[in-house]
């Protein structure tokens, strides 16, 4: 039996009928065609499905679509404002914080969520903040620098 949910995704309100067994990742990718969140493992281990729900990062592969009811979801597609990139996105480009790009949407959202909660993190806090996102290409250090740089830029912007 399908469930009717009302949810806000990237600022847009939706009324959707979802199958109970759909994950949020499947809803985003297969139904709404928001393919930024990736299915890297399906088991909540790699982090490439990370999205932000009500301000907190979650693994969308382990979250039911039905659970988005009454909640606000932010995916990578909702981060930039038109051509204007979020400071974290800009920093990733400037600091070479991605290579193949598959883990990048989830990684950027984890970085953003960290800075939203802790605008001035130490290096250790940044590493902890992205400790649920695996990257095979970069070795992480350039990602940490990018997030550090973004935190400085965000503070300047005020």
């Amino acid at each position: 039996m399908k469930h009717l949910i009302e949810t806000k995704i990237n600022g847009i309100s939706y009324r959707l009928e979802v199958e109970p067994h759909w994950t949020l990742l499947e809803l985003l990718r297969d139904v709404l065609r928001l393919t930024g969140a990736k299915d890297g493992c399906g088991m909540g281990e790699c982090g490439s499905c990370t999205v932000i729900m009500d301000g907190k990062t979650i693994y969308s592969c382990l979250t039911l679509a039905a659970r988005a009811d009454g909640k606000e979801v932010l995916t990578i597609e909702g981060l930039a404002r038109g051509e204007e990139l979020d400071p974290v996105q800009k920093a990733f480009i400037e600091h070479g914080a991605f290579q193949c790009g598959f883990c990048t949407p989830g990684m950027i959202l984890s970085g953003k969520a960290l800075l939203d909660e802790n605008p001035n993190p130490t290096e250790e806090e940044i590493r902890k903040g992205i400790s649920g996102n695996l990257c095979r290409c970069t070795g992480y250090n350039m990602i940490v620098e990018a997030i550090q740089s973004a935190s400085e830029k965000r503070v300047k912007r005020g």
């Binding site: 088991m43 281990e45 600091h95 070479g96 193949c100 790009g101 902890k128």
Partner: protein, 772 residues
């Protein structure tokens, strides 16, 4: 020899990735994100026994399931075996008589949804006759071991032997001889995007395969033989890939299986590995037992080296033989050793078969070789650095394996890494901290290897200038995430004299892009780059000729830079390239089109092994600093300093990314990573049990660039994609020995091994104390 100077406008600058905006906004479409209209979902039925005869396969129930559009077995295929080395091919896309590893493909289904396809797999009935399996290659060599290919009468897939000089004499001259056994584990690439492909036929029977491939033209060739289909009827498209690292170099069974399903169902089909399937069936780094014997004189001259290698080939032939041949070549690297003997057995076992993974055998042999150098240094009472420096190769040297070294910054790599880390002050100090070094040499411009029936190393590129002076660069090389598209654009922009922002790069589509053999052996910057440079020169020639007409100046007096062509020394006497292009297209009536080919004339083929030499060699030295917790055996890598001779850093940020990413993989395979095989099962087929590094596990990495300016590479550059993980395990093993005096000769060096070794050391020293 080209004289480059240092006055570049694009080269040597850290331009951000061409595809950056798309990657950070999630707009990049990976194969995982692609759908075609009417597309079906394919799933593969794989063997659940490591060794068995297939008595029967009954697909009737599966075929009847609503939503199923095609079910295939080997009977639906021409049963042509495939392998990147065609003469040893023994893997069928779908096996018909026998399965030889858990995961061997035997049937496949295409259905409207993934769910239906999985249900259909469940309905396929397979009758097996189990056969005794063998999992250890040294066991597989023993008489009476179960045979994977009875018709050959042996489990030896290949026996490779080579001798340079006279090792017997060499060992006689030696004052000290060390003999040790080293062992490595199978390590998997962990590409973040699981492997997948989409196959579709158009109305005329022409196939398009969208594939995760590092070598689209090579894949096209393999498919043409296995389907079979003429090359002109096949188009391979490579989309942005979520990682490859060598595992996507050749064809995988899912590629032809997908094609067969599409043909039978008449619809596009997508097959995508689950993460578990990826861990179980991906190509991975072959595991080896290396028996190494090194002879050295008391003054530190290395006189002889002998290696016997037993490589676990897995169940089918793939790249085992070329990697074995490559191992032999690598044994002759880094040091000038006059006598070398190599004896390698590539052995079948009922494990999944391996393939290329970043380093191509070099990580394994370097672990053994550089550990041995450390052991020898201790025996002689010499410092590792001094022993290495005494024996290392230098610019212009040709190894006894006919590898011609051109540029070589190895000495500088070693000394700079040592200086940067305070090597002399820290070495052999008491406490729990240790410092260790290891060096390596690797192909820096591809290798002359098999392609079809020839050994070659080439690339080609086409360039068209648009009416507004922007450029489309088309080449067959594959950007597998390492940023080669961006670097090729930089080479093109510098050579042509236009702005980086005005280049658009189109790669890896066999219909649209000129031939390149693919991305492997660190070849794209070098070979691909030289082809692109030639194409840019072709276009520049046309521009300069046109400009000379308009500006009334000699071609030789003109220069092209940052989007302008002008008279050398008088910048104001010139015109912009956009103006020139507009003139050419709309007033002169002439399109601007260029082509470039680079066919490596330097390296030499080896027709026997298919593994030739390289036109340039990259070098690196790494110094690892560690701290060992003697209560738990856990190793904390405090820092790794990695000095790389890469010819020239065309894009420093991209180079740093390659070095750091490779080193994280190197630390992983040194200390954490191992496919857990038990009786043919991969027990850790997930990211929780397979310990790939997280952000909290990686250590500080200090990359140092040594620019030896290669005489042949584009603007002096050589490859840098693979080297950084090659010496890491040895550097860490040597650092652990420096810290706590235990020598671990098997990878990964997990804490339990260190603790056991510390315990043994304690008992041995107590025992000898008691004897006193």
């Amino acid at each position: 020899m080209a004289d480059y100077g240092d006055d570049f406008s694009v080269i040597g600058k850290s331009f951000p990735r061409l595809e950056g905006f798309e990657k950070v906004t999630g707009a990049t479409r990976f194969l995982a994100d692609m759908e075609l209209p009417g597309m079906l979902h394919g799933k593969v039925l794989r063997a659940s026994y490591p060794h068995a005869r297939i008595i029967s396969i009954n697909t009737k129930k599966a075929e009847k399931l609503s939503g199923v559009k095609a079910v295939i077995t080997a009977e639906d295929t021409p049963k042509i075996p495939f392998c990147i080395i065609p003469r040893v091919a023994n893997k069928l896309p779908l096996e018909d008589k026998k399965v030889r590893y858990i995961g061997d493909e035997i049937a496949a289904v295409a259905a409207e949804t993934e769910e239906i396809a999985l249900d259909a797999l469940d309905l396929i009935e397979v009758d097996y006759e189990e056969l005794p399996p063998v999992f250890d290659p040294e066991e597989a060599l023993k008489p009476g071991a179960p045979l994977l290919y009875e018709e050959t009468g042996t489990n030896i897939a290949e026996h490779f032997r080579k001798e340079y000089g006279d090792v017997e004499r060499g060992f006689q001259e030696a004052d000290h001889i060390l003999e040790d056994r080293f062992e490595t584990s199978p390590v998997t690439p962990c590409c973040m995007e699981p492997r997948s492909c989409i196959a579709s036929f158009d109305g005329s029977g022409r196939l398009t395969l969208i594939a995760n491939t590092q070598a689209p033209f090579s894949l096209r060739l393999e498919l043409s033989k296995v389907i079979p289909l003429p090359i002109k009827k096949i188009r391979i498209i490579k989309l942005p890939i979520g990682g490859a690292f060598g595992s996507r170099l050749g064809m995988d069974s899912i590629d032809p299986i997908c094609v067969f399903l599409s043909r039978k169902s008449g619809r596009p089909v997508k097959i995508a590995n689950t993460r578990e399937e990826e861990f179980v069936t991906s190509r991975y780094r072959y595991r080896m037992a290396i028996y190494l014997k090194t002879g050295v004189k008391k003054d530190g001259t290395i006189v002889a080296r002998e290696a016997k290698v037993i490589m676990d080939n897995g169940a089918h032939n793939y790249q085992g033989y070329t990697i074995m041949a490559g191992l032999c070549q690598k044994l002759t690297f880094v040091y000038k050793i006059p006598h070398i003997k190599f004896d390698g057995h590539v052995v079948y076992t009922n494990n999944v078969y391996g393939g290329a993974f970043r380093g191509y055998g070099n990580p394994q042999i370097t672990f053994a070789a550089e550990s041995h150098i450390d052991m020898i240094a201790e025996k002689l009472g010499m410092d590792f650095l001094d022993l290495s420096l005494k024996n290392i190769v230098e610019p212009g040297y040709e190894t006894i394996s006919n590898c011609q070294i051109t540029s070589c910054g190895l000495r500088e790599c070693m000394t700079r890494a040592a200086d940067a880390t305070g090597w002399r002050e820290k070495r052999r100090k008491p406490g729990r901290r240790g410092i260790g070094m290891a060096s390596m040499q690797h192909a820096g411009g591809g290798i002359k290897i098999f392609f079809g029936n020839i050994n070659c190393n080439y690339s080609s590129a086409a360039m068209k200038m648009n009416e507004d002076g922007s450029v489309n660069l088309m080449t067959g090389s594959s950007d597998i995430g390492q940023g080669s598209d961006t670097v090729l654009a930089q080479i093109a922009a510098e050579e042509l004299g236009i702005r980086f922002e005005d280049i658009r790069v189109i790669t890896a589509d066999t219909d649209l892009t000129p031939m390149c053999l693919g991305t492997y052996g660190d070849r794209v910057t070098f070979i691909g780059g030289l082809a692109v440079q030639n194409a840019a020169r072709d276009v520049k020639k046309q521009l300069l000729e046109l400009a000379s007409e308009i500006l009334e100046a000699n071609v030789g007096d003109l220069e092209s830079r940052e989007g302008r062509i002008f008279v050398k020394g008088s910048q104001e006497k010139g015109m912009s390239i956009p103006e020139l292009a507009e003139f050419s297209y709309f007033k002169k009536g002439r399109p601007i089109l260029g082509r470039g080919i680079y066919d490596d004339p330097i390296s030499k083929p080896d027709y026997g092994t298919g593994y030739g030499t390289s036109p340039a060699y990259s070098f690196a030295s790494q110094v690892a600093e560690v701290e060992v917790d003697v209560e738990t055996g856990k190793v904390k890598v405090l820092k790794i300093t990695s000095a790389h001779d890469l010819g020239r850093a065309l894009n420093p940020m991209a180079v740093r990314g390659q070095i750091e990413g490779a080193m994280a993989q190197g630390i992983g395979s040194a200390l954490f990573e191992r496919l857990d095989w038990v009786e043919g099962r991969t027990l850790n087929s997930n990211f929780l049990d397979y310990r790939m590094l997280t952000a909290l596990d990686v250590s500080a990495i200090d990359p140092i660039f040594i620019e030896s300016i290669d005489p042949n590479g584009p603007f002096g550059a050589k490859g840098v994609g693979e080297p950084a993980l090659v010496p890491t395990a040895a550097a860490i093993a040597n650092a652990i020995y420096d810290a706590v005096g235990v020598r671990i000769k098997s990878l990964p060096i997990t804490p339990d091994k260190i603790l056991a070794a510390l315990e043994e050391k304690r008992l041995t020293s107590e025992g000898s104390e008691n004897e006193e």
